[in-house]
């Protein structure tokens, strides 16, 4: 057991750090959260800078440890978050890389890497949330096209996406998991309507997408017809790998900021609060170690993220909520002031135990897949 990095990895870290110090001051100011076109331009601009510097495909081709270092250093330096590039870089991209034809890879992967196209994810539906396999959006084959009708929900970045990784039902007679197909939907096709949804934090982070007899070329199908569930599972395994590395680093920074703020406003003298901060420090140190452990395991198993992802996600979502509840304790009366950034972060943190598999679903996954307890109700 060791926690050291190889000379090559340390060299990568040093080079990246040097590059970040050089380019970050040249970035334009961050756009306002409500200005979607500006957000898209900003996020794509950042991806283009990564591409020009040779870091664009770090999520795909690098070893898990290199990816860990990349995410750790970019977060530490305050670099932009992956933002609108999330689905393209971490979901649709890896799926197309793993399951697509050479022509599909050539069409869709370079624009993602170069920061030219944005993807969104059309998985969840009003009637298929935790139970994704219950999805009902229908696709009929008509000549060289599929004709798609249905609706999707919680679609992040839908307002500015060029493409949507879309799950549709092509065989309603087959068992639930066997009649699903994965399509790349062009968002500018006729019959696509996007309706933004407001979040409780006051932002518009996601949307509803309505599909009314939308024609999608059959050439946009990734994997075989009715094999979309397996293709999707390839995608989801990427989500639990190193997706949260940057966030753990960010949480540790927030924790030190909380301590400074508490020192300034006198809350630090309350031993109960102080000890609560100390316990959070233990928590996030452990989550960082869990990340390193999972990455090390992925490295040893040839890059496949293991079941550790569910364990991490469960623990982390609740720790993040605790962190911002403690921030409210540090803020005192200011915890009710929406102009405090921690107050908005606290509101955002409420989604963490829900998005990408609720904590209750995650516990079922851990109990059934890791502990081998029987499936039941």
């Amino acid at each position: 057991m060791e926690l050291s990095y190889s000379p090559q990895e340390e060299e990568f870290r040093a080079r990246l750090r040097e590059w970040l110090a050089k380019v970050l001051p040249t970035l334009p100011p961050k756009p306002s959260p409500g200005d979607w076109p500006a957000r898209r331009a900003y996020d794509l601009g950042w991806q283009r800078m990564l591409y020009d510097a040779g870091y664009a495909d770090v999520h795909w081709d690098a070893s898990p440890t290199t990816r860990l270092i990349f995410l750790e250093e970019t977060e530490r330096a305050g670099a932009p978050y992956v933002g609108a590039n999330f689905v393209g870089l971490l979901h649709a991209g890896p799926t197309i890389a793993a399951e697509g034809t050479p022509a599909q890879r050539a069409r869709w992967l370079p624009p993602v890497l170069r920061g030219e196209e944005v993807w969104c994810q059309g998985f969840s539906e009003p009637g298929a949330g935790s139970d994704l396999a219950a999805l009902r959006t229908r696709a009929w084959r008509d000549g060289d096209d599929y004709v798609v009708t249905g609706s999707k929900i919680w679609t992040s970045h839908a307002e500015v996406a060029d493409w949507c990784e879309l799950l549709v039902r092509t065989d309603p007679q087959a068992p639930r998991h066997r009649g699903i197909t994965w399509l790349a939907l062009p968002m500018d096709a006729d019959g696509v309507t996007v309706r933004p949804l407001g979040t409780l934090a006051g932002s518009a982070e996601f949307a509803e997408v309505f599909l009314d007899e939308v024609r999608v070329p059959a050439a946009n199908r990734v994997g075989a017809e009715n094999d979309g569930w397996r293709v999707t599972m390839v995608t989801l395994s990427f989500e639990r790998g190193t997706a949260f590395v940057g966030e753990v680093v960010a949480c540790r920074r927030v924790l030190t900021e909380l301590a400074s703020a508490a020192r300034e406003n006198g809350r630090w003298d309350d031993p109960v609060l102080r000890r609560r901060l100390g316990r959070l420090e233990a928590e996030f140190r452990a989550l960082w170690r869990l990340t390193q452990w999972n990455v090390s395991e992925a490295e040893a198993s040839g890059g496949v993220p293991g079941v550790g992802g569910s364990v991490f996600k469960l623990r982390y979502s609740h720790a993040r909520q605790d962190l911002y509840d403690t921030a409210a304790d540090v803020l005192g009366p200011a915890a009710l002031d929406l102009d405090q950034s921690w107050v908005l972060d606290r509101l955002s943190s409420l989604s963490y135990t829900i998005a990408a598999g609720t904590s209750q679903i995650q516990r079922n996954i851990v109990a059934e897949r890791i502990l081998g307890l029987p499936k039941g109700r």
């Binding site: 420090e281 869990l290 390193q292 452990w293 550790g308 516990r363 502990l371 029987p374």
Partner: protein, 312 residues
């Protein structure tokens, strides 16, 4: 980065588990519960022969020459098996107290107001002259208490031989206290993993309403949380063993104490009425976890140390 057990470390862990299964299996465990206060000196020597105490001594001094990561794996197994005796104090005394390394000498240490296994020990580190026995909640850990008023008294000699130790030396702050904290965390990890396994075993086999209770989400989720706490504690403890850093050790303590104490309680809950009986082993894990959680300053010192790190 190879933050995983090496083949040698895996083999060591398996070897210790086999040794403890053979020398301190369930029959021996229950016999020890029925004879409280008696330390099995033969077992203690067998542990010494196996290198349990001399593990980190250099080979030139008759030790095994291994490091903290290996010690942590060994103590995890000891915790899992509920092995009784002042294991941490004797391990830390190896090399400085004659006979400790070989298991000939049993060493205990004054820890704040408490001393474990005082009557069974040959050597006491610290001043236990005013110690009075108490009825220990853990049938496998006899305890003495030093009245708080005497806690600051000058070092004296209780009996036999005492090794002077600064009172801070056994607190979380001293180097010995730090290591004692890490080895305690490793024992807690052993309990955390064991109670998770016991809970899952029971949930798989116990049937109610015509199915294993593990099919019910309420029980499933208790089991999932048991695993999450144990695995998070595991990486915290292993990382602290690799770095030896005081803050990492404090974090490991907090995570492992929580995983062991809450884990034992959830395991008890999953066992239902059986969990409340003397004959089920669950209560032994809970009681030992309570005893260990009080060691070396407990959670307050760890939390304060980590809070202090936030404002450096």
């Amino acid at each position: 980065m190879r933050f995983q057990l090496s083949d040698d470390q895996r083999a060591l862990k398996a070897g210790v588990r086999e040794l403890l299964d053979g020398r301190f299996g369930r029959v021996a465990l229950r016999a020890a519960v029925d004879a409280p206060g008696r330390l099995d000196r033969e077992l203690w020597r067998a542990l010494g022969d196996a290198g349990f105490f001399a593990l980190r001594l250099p080979e030139a001094d008759g030790g095994v020459g291994l490091g903290l990561p290996e010690a942590v794996l060994v103590f995890e197994e000891a915790g899992r098996a509920l092995l009784p005796g002042p294991l941490v104090a004797t391990h830390l005394a190896a090399g400085s107290v004659p006979g400790a390394a070989t298991g000939e000498t049993v060493v205990t240490a004054v820890d704040g107001e408490l001393v474990e296994w005082l009557d069974a020990a040959d050597v006491v580190s610290g001043d236990a002259s005013d110690a009075v026995p108490l009825r220990s909640v853990d049938p496998l850990t006899p305890l003495h208490r030093i009245p708080a008023a005497c806690a600051a008294a000058a070092p004296g000699r209780r009996r036999r031989e005492t090794r002077p130790a600064a009172r801070a030396g056994t607190g979380a702050a001293g180097p010995d206290g730090c290591l004692a904290g890490l080895l305690t965390a490793a024992e807690q990890l052993g309990t955390a993993v064991r109670v998770q396994e016991l809970a899952v075993q029971h949930a798989r086999t116990r049937e109610q309403f015509g199915q294993p209770i593990g099919a019910f989400q309420a029980v499933k989720h208790l089991c999932a949380d048991l695993l999450v706490r144990a695995e998070t504690a595991r990486v915290a403890v292993y990382a602290a063993a690799v770095t030896g850093d005081a803050a990492d050790i404090a974090a490991a303590r907090l995570l492992a104490d929580e995983a062991a104490v809450r884990g034992a309680r959830d395991c008890l809950q999953v066992h239902g009425g059986m969990g409340f009986t003397w004959e089920a082993d669950v209560h032994l894990h809970l009681k030992r976890a309570w005893v260990r959680a009080r060691r070396a300053g407990g959670s307050t010192e760890s939390e304060e140390l980590l809070a202090g790190r936030l404002v450096v």
